[in-house]
Amino acid sequence: MNTLKRLGIGLAGLMLTTTLGLAAEATKPTDPEIAHIAYTADNIDIQAAEHAVKVSKNKAVQDFARDMIRDHEAVNKQALALLAKLKVEPKDNATSQALVNQADATQAHLATLKGAAFDKAYVDNEVAYHHAVNTALETTLIPAAQNAELKDLLTTGLQIFKGHEDHARMVAGELK
């Protein structure tokens, strides 16, 4: 059962990677689309973390979730300031929609869980989610970004989120 569950979560992560990859491959995203994708990805993680802070009773998980809120809000603030400066209006697109749909499905699943089962599912998803977003940043979004400042911010974001991925793996290891 446990292996099945783990496989399910692994598959969800894999699907997200694939979805992101496919949507991005079809057409190279423009800067307004990249901005929208980055902002959407950030907000998804903030919402998941806000839910975790409310639901989890585990201090390591709660602390991790608070770290996610703090960092992703800082990145969003930086992104909004840059968009205002560049006068770029974020543009909705297929990749953003895929991210939102995937997040809705994940949240619906997490909402059914409590206690240790919730903690594990949340943290495992954080590993998979950050991994998928980092892969998308590295292989698609950063290379496609035209504006140098946007490229810089995405590169910094990638560094932050790689730290989150490692942190999530560490918390996942503690939960076992």
Binding site: D63, R70, D71, V75, K77, Q159, G163, H167, M170
Partner: protein, 110 residues
């Protein structure tokens, strides 16, 4: 006139005090660690008892410098600094509570 003399005397006293105090003050140093791109730079510093370690956070996210033994926990808000004065000799590993992958070490000599 009296006030003038009083001020002069105060100046002389201050100068004398300076002479006495300066060597002691010069002995304690401030060692700066840059906190940039999610790293403590340099990651290892050596200090003497009485020195101050100052962390300058250049990132736009908050960090902390937290001793593994909980001896200090310095908050480093985005683009701000924080410091701690080291009082004991020894090796003190520290990390960022928000980003546990960020690690550093202070070696304090007598």
């Amino acid at each position: 006139m009296t006030a003038g003399r009083g001020r002069r005397r105060a100046c002389v006293l201050a100068a004398l005090a300076g002479v006495v105090l300066l060597p002691a003050m010069a002995a304690a140093e401030t060692i700066t660690v840059q906190v940039t791109k999610f790293s403590f730079v340099p990651a290892s510093v050596t200090a003497k008892v009485g020195d101050t370690i100052e962390w300058v956070n250049a990132d736009f996210v908050d960090h902390t410098a937290t001793a593994a033994n909980k001896g200090f926990d310095v908050k480093l808000p985005a683009n701000k600094s924080g410091s701690v004065t080291v009082k004991k000799a020894g090796t003190f590993p520290y990390f960022c509570r928000f980003h546990p992958m960020m690690k550093g070490t202070i070696t304090v000599k007598k």
